[in-house]
Subunit: 396 residues, 2 copies
DNA sequence: CAGGATTAGTTAATGCTATTTACTAACTCT
DNA sequence: AGAGTTAGTAAATAGCATTAACTAATCCTG
């Protein structure tokens, strides 16, 4: 049944059309420069179907034709590309340490961005600040000249699957916030789709959506910042984020690793976040709330206490990666979040632990690739923009 | 893209037709006795579409008409039911302690069953034994008189997502077994679909497929036997088992709960199975391989060592249930597997731990329902039969 | 008990979809 | 220049769900 994440019920011909349009778009996104005939071959659709869909997408400014193919024999095909000039999607992130706003084109390229390094307090106030950032972005003539497909917002907590509402953000102290409504009160534009999602989900979506070449079956984006989140995406042509009953799929930060262990922000004990997370490192190593965690700790690396704490946290992160493989089993793992700025002192022990503790089943198959995103400042915001594009593609 | 689990690529009209047929079938399955008009209202399809699909399904022996509705005013509708008389599906399970075979009708009712309590040794030999059981079942005149939709087989290990092949069954000692091919060599009938899946996935599918009334968003079937497995199913009208890259989704038995803990069968250390599983209880409490674990332990409950071990294992099971909620987040949890025969000494501590350690997020929402299946002897086999039905419905 | 109201279900026409088939277009090679 | 080859388009076709108009079967009212 349709909800705010998946807009239409299956059953009618529109659904079929959307599906095929999304399939063709994802093929062009993954393999820029294919001709109509290549797409038909690759997707199994007929030349006629591909031709008509491509032509409509061209008229609407989604696709453009490029140079001619010069393969021996026969009429050359016209190569096709996503049109990076006509449309934009806006993406925003409300993070524990700041607000970020981006404008991306259909290629996923960041055309402009704004950031404000403040710690959000009340939802209303935060919405107002974010609205000003978005207005500033829309004031940019290069952005204003384009057609805007909509706005996606990423927040550091689970979003209800039934409605675009933030359930709980322990690290902001927010509960049941209808953030899009607060934004609407401050902001008229852009027209188009407005979406809300969890930060890790948005980041995961963006990373998956703009992958080039054959996409992995699924990816997990493990976001290690103040808290630990994880987003999963799968689906070749129609990427889907599994959310579960309460939107908690991938909330591995609150899986219990130590029965009756240290108390966690979430009200339970012994969660993964008590072993590895920004807030735990801050508390245990005494870093002030207003100081940069990574800068402070990197400056204190010669203290044995600090390096040992990072190594310990790193091993916990490696263990989490391992557990992820036995519960969500993604075909690719992406590490992101502000803790990645700590670099090798945290990441090396994580990867080492992950490598050393593979069991027979994992050893038997190819090692799952791990990608580390060192600077994920705009990753979630760009991912939210990608979600807008995917949604808009359904309705073109 | 199509594979042995999901047969057709989206894009053509057949796909749409299958989708609508499945939608209508699942509505009748969940709400027996609805009329065509009720179905149209409930699914959003038009009366004409529902009528034509229902009539075809009736001709093919999937649906039958029942009594007339007697609602005040207007022409009464003809109630519709799945036809339990025409078709059968066969399901089989190869378990660590025995083979089971069942024949079910479209209502999910077990019409006949066969069991053989032996511990499987070689795959070939096991396939031969299973083939004899199936032949015995097909020899039953009540079964032979019906049209058979196919055969589903459940095995205690992950099945590759790309091909119907068992990857690894640590508790059988099997690796990369093409079990359906071995069966084919022994068995001609039944015609129709032949499927292979993991035992927990099959059980989960069956439990979800035949749920009456509004189905939960998703369920997880936690199978606690010799090992610990878990299957997940979601999708209202078109139930899907998320499998992940290597078919390991839900393999929480091998999530690590104790860093560098006790050695596990899987080659790693500190897995959940080292804290709760049949093999671990057997080893730690000295129960012979050929004795019934549950019977032996229930007889020794007055030994403090035994009751303490069960309580400890129970708490670990509760912790696993909690972690399940933060990774796969099902809306309903079903506990099954042979360990459930231990009853309260194991299950009560599990439920108590689960209840006592809910965090703020879970506390905030309605408690997730937990169902305990005391006797799951035929659950996986019936689930495999349900998978056959779902697949056959696509192709009717 | 006749006739209106109401709901169930079917039928025929319609519009939209992808597919099929046949075509034109554009290039290379000989 | 002409044959061969591949790309792309156009018109005809088949299949799908929908629409709108119909028939069917019941209840209710007077």
């Amino acid at each position: 049944m349709p909800n705010h994440f998946t807009p239409h019920a299956a059953g009618d011909l529109n659904y079929l059309k959307s599906l095929n349009r999304s399939t063709i778009l994802s093929t062009v996104r993954r393999y820029p420069g294919l001709s109509r005939a290549d797409i038909a071959l690759r997707t199994g659709l007929t030349k006629a179907t591909v031709g008509s869909v491509v032509n409509v997408l061209g008229e609407r400014g989604w696709l453009r034709e490029g140079e001619l193919h010069a393969r021996g024999g026969g009429r050359p095909g016209r190569s096709l590309y996503l049109d990076g000039e006509q449309h934009v999607m806006l993406g925003a992130e409300v993070g524990v340490k700041g607000l970020r706003v981006v404008a991306c084109n259909l290629l996923g390229e960041r055309l402009a961005s704004q950031r404000l390094d403040v710690s959000p307090t009340m939802p209303e106030e935060t919405a107002a600040m974010l609205a000003r950032l978005i207005e500033a972005l829309l004031g940019d003539p290069a952005i204003a000249a384009r057609s805007c497909l909509g706005l996606g917002v990423a927040l550091p907590g689970p979003v209800a699957p039934q409605a675009p509402i933030l359930r709980l953000a322990p690290n902001l102290g927010w509960v049941d916030v209808d953030f899009l409504a607060l934004l609407r009160a401050e902001l008229d534009s852009p027209a188009g789709v407005w979406l809300l999602d969890n930060e890790a989900n948005a980041a995961a979506f963006g990373e998956f959506y703009f992958i080039q070449g054959t996409p992995p079956e699924s990816i997990a984006y493990l976001s290690a910042g103040s808290g630990i989140g994880c987003g999963v995406v799968s689906g070749e042509h129609f990427p889907v984020i599994p959310r579960g009953h309460q939107g908690l799929v991938g909330e591995i930060g609150h899986t219990v690793l130590v029965a009756d262990g240290a108390p966690c922000h979430c009200g339970n004990h012994g969660c993964a976040e008590t072993l590895v997370s920004g807030w735990m490192l801050r508390e245990s190593l005494g870093v002030a709330a207003d100081a940069s965690l990574s800068a402070s700790l990197l400056a204190r690396l010669d203290e044995p206490e600090v390096s040992a704490a990072l190594a310990r946290a790193g091993r916990a992160l490696g263990l989490l990666m391992l557990n992820l493989h036995h519960t969500l089993n993604p075909s690719m793992l992406i590490l992101g979040g502000s803790l990645m700025r700590l670099g090798a002192p945290l990441v090396a022990p994580a990867l080492a632990y992950f490598d050393a503790h593979q069991n027979d089943l994992l050893r038997q198959s190819q090692r799952v690739p791990v990608k580390v995103v060192e600077d994920s400042t705009f990753t979630a915001a760009c991912g939210a923009a990608a979600q807008v594009m995917a949604r808009a593609a359904i309705e073109v």
